[in-house]
């Protein structure tokens, strides 16, 4: 019994030592149309230990609660507002959205939220802006937008 318990613990410890985690960054600027929810492309993979990411989406490999977080930086434009949110299986998640008014200078929208996910769910971040025309994301000069996911616990 003692050795069986030890084996079970080792298996579970292995999972938590290597639980699903994703962190990707945007290193190529993207043009976001006016007033249109647009999937954000993050083309540089920092970590994706379950190989679920293919820009712009992550396909879930392990069911459970995840922390989904992300940021988008827009180039300077003082008109309108900007928002970012998680999208699961082509549906925007209203409890994850963050909106901000366009300030002077680079505008950053940051979100982070807990989301329940099933195996096969497709997750991405999407954003919109109301500057009146297409607007570029900001890349470089110290700004790289990012998208991440962290497994928290089983369903």
């Amino acid at each position: 019994m003692t050795s069986n318990l030890g084996f079970l613990n080792f298996t579970r410890y292995n999972f938590y030592d290597n639980k699903p985690i994703l962190h990707v960054e945007q290193t190529v600027a993207q043009s976001v149309p006016n007033t249109t929810a647009t999937a954000i492309t993050y083309t540089t993979v920092v970590v994706d230990n379950y190989a679920g990411y293919s820009s712009p989406s992550y396909t879930v490999k392990v069911a459970g609660w995840y922390r989904v977080y992300g940021c988008i930086h827009y180039v300077s434009n003082t008109t309108g507002s900007r928002w970012i949110r998680a999208n699961v299986n082509s549906s925007g998640i209203s409890s994850t959205i963050i909106g901000t008014a366009a300030p002077t200078g680079i505008c950053s929208c940051v979100m982070g939220s807990l989301v329940p996910l099933q195996v096969g769910d497709v997750v991405k971040l999407e954003s919109s802006q109301t500057s009146g025309g297409a607007l570029s994301t900001q890349v470089g000069s110290g700004y790289n937008s990012w998208f991440g996911m962290e497994f928290i616990r089983c369903p």
Binding site: R12, S113, L114, T130
Partner: protein, 157 residues
């Protein structure tokens, strides 16, 4: 420590990880927040509440497991360009000076979000407050695309 003790300790640790306390609540009905007054924000929909600590009537969470938690709170506000808006964590009715975030509401539907670690003891009562100084009462914003929310995730002892 004897091997049996190590295994049992490890088993308890795994149990904690697999069943750690998790809370996520959302707002489905807008709230009128008075001008320049820190106000308890009501979140009446519990998405997950693993340890049954949340009271939807009082919008308060009573901690069941002590430890460090990751707190995230976000409030969406109706459009109004005057003043600022903030979201703040309260523990036992005491406002946190670290878990507070303020934004300037220049555009439509501004959001104030704050996130970070906080240590909580069993029995601590956790709420989320908002404040706005538009000059009059202002609604939090709720629609199919915007739902204010807050969450707690147990991290470690």
């Amino acid at each position: 420590m004897p091997i049996t003790g190590q295994i049992l300790t490890g088993f308890r640790s795994i149990n904690q990880l697999q069943s750690k306390a998790l809370l996520s609540v959302t707002q489905t009905v807008g709230l009128s927040v008075p001008n320049n007054a820190s106000t308890l924000v009501t979140f009446t929909s519990a998405v997950i509440d693993t340890h049954s600590g949340y009271n939807t009537g009082t919008s308060a969470y009573t901690v069941k497991v002590a430890g460090w938690y990751w707190y995230t709170g976000c409030i969406h506000w109706a459009t109004n360009t005057t003043g600022f808006r903030y979201t703040q964590l309260l523990v036992n009715a005491a406002a946190s000076t670290m878990m507070i975030s303020s934004v300037s509401p220049g555009g439509t539907t501004p959001s104030s979000l704050v996130s970070g670690p906080v240590f909580l003891n069993v029995g601590d009562v956790v709420t989320t407050n908002g404040l706005q100084n538009s000059g009059g009462a202002l609604l939090t914003f709720v629609n199919a695309s915007f739902q204010s929310s807050w969450s707690l995730e147990w991290l470690r002892i």
